[in-house]
């Protein structure tokens, strides 16, 4: 039946979109690790993969958007849903531009910051890793969304604390860095931190969407 074909195609696209975002986040995490380990070739390869996946996510999102409007589907939820997908897609955009800047600007992170930086990346990745399943479950079981996004908020807070900790170390503890270098490193910390901030914004949108559906 034509009606359910559209619905099946959209479900497939949506799954593909979420898979792509999850993949981007995982590869980006490996890329940061590669950068800190000095494996620049691997880092470059992973960057290319992230760029490619980010394009793919953009493409799928636009397709979903067009299909929803062309077939006038979900008239009441469409606006919120597209806003959510755009925010989720922003995560891939932030990661792509962040990693590209790593490659172009080559920030020099002192050895003592590596573990903290890895932990910050880990927290950010975890926030996204909990966001995507919550987004997936929203379509079938909006009641479960609340408990799932609780973890997104948790990891966002953790990453905020971690970022603050790193900034404190950069400016107060590490002495063999120029002020310009310190400001440069802070820029990258903010860039990584913004991943979990964006995940939090998406979780807020999702939370309201789930309330609307259960009314």
């Amino acid at each position: 039946m034509e009606l359910f074909k559209t619905s099946a195609a959209l479900k497939k696209m949506l799954d593909e979109f979420f898979d792509t975002i999850e993949e981007v986040v995982l590869i980006a995490k490996i890329a940061v690790d590669d950068y800190l380990s000095g494996q620049h070739i691997k880092f470059h390869e992973n960057l290319l993969r992230v760029v490619e996946l980010e394009h793919k996510a953009d493409h799928i999102r636009r397709n979903i958007e067009n299909r929803l409007y062309e077939k006038s589907l979900l008239p009441q939820f469409r606006g919120d849903l597209l806003h959510l997908l755009e925010k989720t897609d922003d995560i891939a955009d932030i990661l792509t531009s962040g990693l590209s800047q790593f490659e172009v600007e080559r920030p020099r992170f002192p050895e003592e910051l590596h573990a903290d930086l890895r932990r910050l990346t880990e927290m950010c990745v975890k926030s996204v890793e909990h966001l995507i399943p919550a987004e997936r479950i929203y379509f079938r079981d909006p009641l479960s969304v609340k408990e799932m996004i609780h973890k997104v908020y948790f990891y966002e807070k953790e990453s905020d604390q971690q970022a603050l900790e790193i900034k404190r170390k950069i400016f107060n503890q590490i002495e063999d860095l120029d002020l310009s270098e310190k400001i440069h490193l802070r820029y990258f910390i903010i860039q990584i931190e913004s991943i979990s901030d964006t995940a939090e914004t998406a979780a807020n949108i999702l939370s309201i969407m789930s309330i609307k559906r259960t009314l």
Binding site: L3, T6, L14, L73, Q76, R140, D141, L143
Partner: protein, 386 residues
């Protein structure tokens, strides 16, 4: 031809009913863009006509008993007064009740003619003005709770749910349109039933008796009302009292259709009676009132705070104003038509054939007599020839 002229006011009322009441069935679906207006109008029109022709007799019978309007001019004026009231209230964007308008207009005729109103017929009608919205609220609250539970338990994907609800809105809308035709056709042509043609209309596969021919005409006028004027009302209805989701819209239409169906289904009434319960009165119920009740029902489930009581007050005041306004308009119009245009709106009570029904009966008897005479004379002639 004269019959068609007199019937035109009834058809105008039918048009006004289509313009106003179709929005009760498809308003939420079209307003939320779940259905296209064109689809809603086509399905609505077909099923309104089917409901009117197949099941329109029950409620019409009760309305006929309320006041036997015994002159064509009277029936014309009464239907016109009701039609103008409905049109006016629709213009003011009030969900007006056609049933209330016609009942008010008939009572206006009773007053003008100096006849007493049959309170045995009026009583169940007025009771449904209260019980209709209450039943609508109960049905919609129960259906809403049930549907919400079902959706959450079955965990249907939002995209699939959207598609299912679209189909259901169309199916339930068709049922709603059928029930509207069956129940509300009485308002449109009920007062003209004594004037129904005697000759059945043969369509080869089926035939329509006199009343059904009137119901068909009334149904068509409702359909024209749906196509020409309901779009504007449909696009604004639904979200005023409580913001409706597509699931709620479905529940509201289903609750409304069930209430209308109950009050126009003779078989159901008989079944209820057979188990020792009181019979369900076959009366024209206001779909506008029922739908307001149904929306309030959902609002109560969601929480009283979600209901806009100010808007409900405005709508309820419309329910009080409608019958009074239609009654006054009917009374004044009858005076004008009778005294200025010199058209007979009431046959004198002392006239031996005081109603058109008996007038038609006498015409029938005369015709039968002349047929018998003709048959006898023909037979005699044939016998003579032999």
């Amino acid at each position: 031809m004269l019959l068609l002229f007199y019937l035109s006011s009834g058809l105008f009322l039918g048009w006004a009913l289509g313009a106003n009441d179709a929005s009760n069935i498809f308003g939420s679906a079209v307003g939320t863009k779940m259905l296209r207006f064109k689809t809603a109008a086509i399905v609505g029109s077909i099923f309104v006509i089917l409901g009117a022709v197949i099941q329109g007799a029950g409620a019409s019978h009760t309305l006929g008993k309320l006041g036997t309007i015994n002159a064509m001019g009277g029936a014309f004026t009464v239907a016109l007064a009701a039609g103008v009231t409905v049109f006016w209230m629709t213009k003011l964007k009030y969900p007006v009740s056609t049933s209330q308008a016609i009942v008010g207009a008939i009572i206006g005729w009773n007053f003008y003619a100096g006849r007493s109103t049959d309170f045995h017929s009026l009583y169940p009608i007025v009771i449904t003005w209260i019980s209709g919205p209450i039943l609508g609220a109960i049905f919609s609250a129960l259906l809403y709770i049930g549907m919400r539970k079902l959706i959450l338990t079955l965990r249907v994907h939002l995209f699939d749910l959207d598609q299912i609800i679209r189909i259901l809105l169309l199916v339930v809308g068709a049922f709603g349109a059928y029930s509207l035709g069956a129940n509300n056709i009485a308002n449109v042509v009920g007062v003209f039933l004594p004037l129904a043609p005697e000759t059945p209309l043969d369509f080869y596969i089926f035939s329509l008796n006199g009343s059904q021919q009137l119901f068909l005409l009334g149904g068509i006028s409702i359909a024209i009302g749906i196509f020409t004027y309901s779009k504007r009302v449909m696009e604004t209805v639904g979200n005023d009292i409580v913001a409706l989701s597509s699931e709620s819209a479905l529940v509201v239409v289903l609750a409304q259709s069930l209430v209308l169906f109950i009050f126009s289904n003779q078989a159901l009434s008989d079944a209820v009676q057979s188990v020792g319960l009181p019979a369900i009165p076959m009366v024209p119920v206001s779909s506008s009132q029922v739908i307001v009740g149904a929306i309030i029902g959902i609002g109560l489930v969601r929480g009283v705070h979600s209901i806009q009581f100010g808007i409900i007050g405005g709508i309820a005041s419309g329910w009080v104003v409608t019958p009074i306004m239609a009654g006054l308009l009917s009374f004044v119009s009858l005076f004008f038509v009778g005294n200025v245009f010199k058209i007979e709106v009431v046959k004198p009570q002392n006239q031996p054939t005081s109603t058109i029904v008996t007038e038609i009966d006498s015409v029938k008897i005369e015709k039968e007599k002349s047929d018998t005479v003709r048959f006898l004379s023909d037979s005699t002639e044939r016998l003579i020839q032999r």
